[in-house]
Symmetry: C2
Subunit: 376 residues, 2 copies
């Protein structure tokens, strides 16, 4: 459980958009909505009877309530907003802060109950951006799981054979598909108690649409983008890694594309240190890509080139602050970010190389290392 | 894609609390927040460049926008609220409806931009409660995956051996634990392209805390609660099934406990039909439990007995309307609900039996059948 410096009276909805902040604040998660309330230094949870056992197990630092213990009437139990109003009044408060992602209907319920509601504009827990040792241990564990899964994918592609007739990859006597490879990755992650719903295994032009998960047979001579981002079921922290590989030989253009991304990624990693801004790092990559002859923009109506930002924070969310993009501010020690430049062109395919690093006093440290040899 | 009868001007945030409604409305999902706007019969999406390819693939029924295509200035790109205001103005609207779970900060941004915002109180898509044939096919597929996984768990427990010394279960030469059994279940679900983050395999008194996932070795002579609720990665629809089994012989009290839950569950299934209320079904189970000598309430500070509701709707959310509980209204044809009574006592352990059914003209149909033989 984190000790926050903020001492305001704050209401958060767990199990909804604020679930991650609640998890950060008190370590509790549940599949259905529940309420977290911070009254100065006190922490309170309002949960269903179903969750009371697990909530009570958090220990003395958290006061647990149910609709029963608050003596709420049947009408007040029907909506989370009315339950929230009941809890706030029970604790003797007349006003409360909520996060910007608090459901507007709940805010209306509180106002109807005569309470004053303040919507916070500043980050609720700015300390979430700066990971402590325990958090870095969790992040590293998830990243190591991702690397293990990546290596299993490498092995499978390396050991595959190329069908001379049609350039299709063959493994274990049948066609190797994105789906088969994704399943191999998922099983390795399961063994490490991680889940990953959206693993990308995208071959050829599928890799040009950065959020296409990939489907169907894989071919020799085409880039295969492998983007693995697992979340630990135990700690809740994420890992994030991307590699791009090819079975067979890349064309000279593809080789130039890969070398350009690799060089830009290595340069960016060497630039990361406290005080350098995400914006600078991003713009330097853009500059290098243009210099190497790779333009970005709509080509035949499709965004191509370097079409996303350089990186994002990783923590209890897969995408969180800070941003390594035109919007990115100065980096600080303890921030955990990805560095993931890429170049995407129809015909050439997509190339992206991504590591997750923690910003240190002198630069950055890669959370878990993994080969960048595209030829496996 | 669903054709909704409602023709209002409605803004929803995808990737947040409203993600499920957006998925229902236009079939689109994305890991990061994006905007869905319904203007009368028109559907619009505002997505990042990253998602434009997938969004455009939805076809002509959906108009796709990006910050670029709207010509938004840098300042307006920094917040989702400002982007939303840009889209609303671009479409020539001066007022807009939002759902009760819309982030309050976004509503404030819209108001600041001079727009009138109406928070809807009625369900956005009441037709979501009544599943059409395609949806039932998806639900049945997820439920079948859950049953396959359940059978794999049954096989493993059936084939386990009892260590005479300490009553521990042994499988494949080592102790059988909740974790091992859960992993076997997860692998079967993966093969069916489903994910399930919170499978419950809870032995003995762990099963008395209904949201304890279960951990550590499993014993003969103790109930093992197996609650499997997978979501299809493809369709997004869920399945939900619970069985309770035992290796070795139950005590007379445990046998009575199991038979009481089984009888109540079967009675409840036979009661389900259009017009009967969830409240009636729930109260009948409560009555039967009391009659059989099983009381509900706090015992030694722990909620015990029948401590949850009888059931819930299942669809694109694992817990959705309607409710089969004291709050439950009359059932309608096409609703998909669980029927899952249970009895939980420290010392005896937990017993829960759950099926997912679709309400039909004459009663209900179980989505996928599975043995209820507790002795395997």
């Amino acid at each position: 459980m984190k000790t926050s410096k903020n001492r305001m009276n704050l209401l958060l909805v767990g199990g909804g958009a604020d679930a991650v902040n609640v998890r950060y604040a008190c370590g509790f998660t549940a599949p259905d909505p529940f309420l977290f309330l911070q009254k100065g230094a006190e922490r309170h949870l309002l949960v269903s009877m179903l969750e009371l056992g697990r909530a009570t197990a958090l220990g003395e630092g958290v006061h647990c309530h149910t609709a029963d213990s608050l003596g709420l009437k049947a009408a007040a139990r029907k909506s989370l907003g009315k339950q929230a109003a009941g809890l706030i009044k029970h604790l003797g408060l007349k006003q409360i802060s909520v996060s910007p992602v608090c459901p507007v209907g709940l805010v209306k319920d509180l106002e109807k109950a005569g309470l004053r509601v303040q919507v916070m504009r500043k980050p609720l827990f700015p300390e979430r951006l700066l990971k402590n040792e325990e958090e870095i241990r969790h992040l590293r564990a998830s990243q190591r799981a991702a690397v293990s899964a990546m290596k299993a994918a490498f092995d499978c592609i390396r050991e595959s054979r190329i069908d001379k007739k049609n350039r299709l990859l063959q493994a274990d006597g049948s066609q190797l598909t994105s789906e088969i490879l994704r399943r191999k990755i998922e099983v390795v992650l399961l063994e490490a108690d991680c889940v990953a719903e959206e693993i990308i295994v995208a071959g050829g032009d599928q890799g040009v649409d950065p959020h296409e998960r990939g489907h169907g047979p894989l071919y020799a001579g085409q880039w295969i983008v492998l983007d693995i981002f697992p979340q630990s079921k135990v700690s809740g922290y994420w890992g994030d890694i991307t590699r791009t590989v090819m079975k067979g030989r890349p064309s000279p253009e593809q080789k130039h594309q890969y070398q350009t991304v690799l060089k830009a990624q290595k340069n960016a990693l060497s630039q990361v240190k406290p005080g350098v801004s995400g914006k600078e790092i991003h713009e330097e990559i853009c500059r290098q890509f243009v210099e190497a002859g790779f333009e970005t923009g709509l080509i035949d109506g499709v965004p191509q080139g370097f079409i996303h930002s350089t990186g994002h924070g990783v923590g209890l969310e897969i995408h969180e602050a800070p941003s390594v993009s035109p919007l990115g501010g100065p980096l600080e020690v303890g921030q955990v970010i990805t560095i993931e430049p890429g170049l995407y062109y129809k015909g050439l395919g997509g190339v992206r190389i991504e590591d997750t690093v923690v910003v240190t006093e002198k630069g950055c440290s890669i959370l878990a290392r993994c080969s960048k040899d595209a030829g496996l």
